[in-house]
C-alpha cells in the first residue's frame, strides 16, 4: 500500500490566509484540505492563498477537491489564489480552466502584492 500523503500548514499574513501544501493531493487529502481552508479563512479572511511549492502530485480526484474548495470559497465570498505551481500543474490548471476561477501567481510575493493592490 502506498497511501498518498499530504501535509498542510496554515499561516496568516495580514488579510491573507496561506495554506502551504506538500506531498500528494488525492481523495485521501479531502478532510485535511477542507480543515486547512476553514482555518485559513476564519475570522472573515477575504483571501486564501494556496502555496504549491512543495507539491509532488495532484491527481484527478485532487482537481475535484480543488473544485469543491472553490465552491466553498465562493459561498463564503473568499477569493482563492495559488502560487508556485510547476509548469506541469500550471498546464493542468489551464486545461481544466481552474486558472479562470483561481488567481495564479508565480510566487507568494507576487500573490501578496496583488492582494495589497486590491485592498489599496
Amino acid at each position: 500500500m502506498n497511501a498518498p500523503t499530504m501535509d498542510v500548514e496554515v499561516r496568516k499574513l495580514g488579510k491573507v490566509g496561506v495554506i502551504d501544501l506538500s506531498g500528494e493531493i488525492t481523495s485521501a487529502a479531502e478532510s485535511r484540505l477542507m480543515q486547512a481552508f476553514a482555518a485559513a479563512s476564519e475570522e472573515n479572511m477575504p483571501h486564501v492563498l494556496m502555496n504549491f511549492s512543495k507539491l509532488n502530485f495532484i491527481n484527478s480526484s485532487g482537481i475535484g477537491l480543488l473544485v469543491t474548495l472553490l465552491i466553498r470559497a465562493r459561498r463564503q465570498q473568499v477569493r482563492l489564489l495559488a502560487c508556485n505551481l510547476s509548469d506541469h500543474y500550471r498546464q493542468i490548471f489551464e486545461l481544466t480552466r481552474l486558472n479562470e476561477a483561481i488567481s495564479i501567481f508565480a510566487t507568494e510575493e507576487e500573490a501578496l502584492a496583488a492582494v495589497d493592490m486590491t485592498l489599496a
Partner: protein, 151 residues
C-alpha cells in the same frame, strides 16, 4: 482515443509488473514506470505528462476494471523504442468498463450541474499523444503512447 487492437505485433515490454488494486497504489505504478524510463532522458514536460496519465489510467483500471479487488492486480507494461514510449495498463474489466462522463466543464461544476469530480479521462486524453483501448488475452487494455526523442 482509438478503440481497437494494438498496432504493434512485435510487442516486447521492457518492464512488466503487477500492482494490487488498492487506492493509492497508482503512485507505485508511477514510480516503477518512471524508474524504468530513467535511462532514456525523456524531457521533464513529457515525463510529468506520463506520470499523470499513468496514475489516472491505473486508478481507472483499479476502480472500474478490477473494482478494487486487491487479489485482482492491475498489470502494467512498458515498451520503449522507435521514437515511442508505449505503456499498457491492463485490467479485467470489459471494454466499456470505464464510464465516459460528460465533458468536464468548470462552469457546470461550480454551478452544481456536474460533479466536482470526473476529470480522469479528460486529463489522460490531454497528457498523451495517442491512446488506444482494446481487449486482448483476457485483459481490457488501455494503451498510452507518446512520440519523443529518445537517447
Amino acid at each position: 482515443m482509438v478503440t481497437g487492437r494494438s498496432l504493434d505485433p512485435q510487442w516486447k515490454p521492457s518492464c512488466d509488473l503487477e500492482i494490487p488494486s488498492q487506492p493509492g497504489n497508482e503512485l507505485a505504478a508511477v514510480r516503477a514506470i518512471t524508474q524504468s524510463l530513467q535511462p532514456y532522458q525523456i524531457n521533464e514536460r513529457k515525463l510529468e505528462q506520463m506520470k499523470t496519465a499513468i496514475a489516472e489510467a491505473t486508478m481507472n483500471a483499479m476502480e472500474h476494471g478490477n473494482h478494487y479487488q486487491v487479489a485482482d492486480p492491475v498489470r502494467l507494461q512498458l515498451q520503449v523504442g522507435s521514437g515511442q514510449v508505449i505503456i499498457r495498463v491492463m485490467d479485467h474489466g470489459d471494454i466499456n468498463s470505464i464510464p465516459l462522463p460528460d465533458f468536464p466543464d468548470i462552469d457546470a461544476k461550480l454551478a452544481g450541474k456536474q460533479s466536482a469530480r470526473g476529470w480522469g479521462m479528460f486529463l489522460i486524453r490531454h497528457m498523451v499523444d495517442e491512446m488506444r483501448e482494446y481487449a486482448e488475452g483476457g485483459y481490457h487494455i488501455t494503451e498510452l503512447i507518446w512520440y519523443c526523442d529518445l537517447v
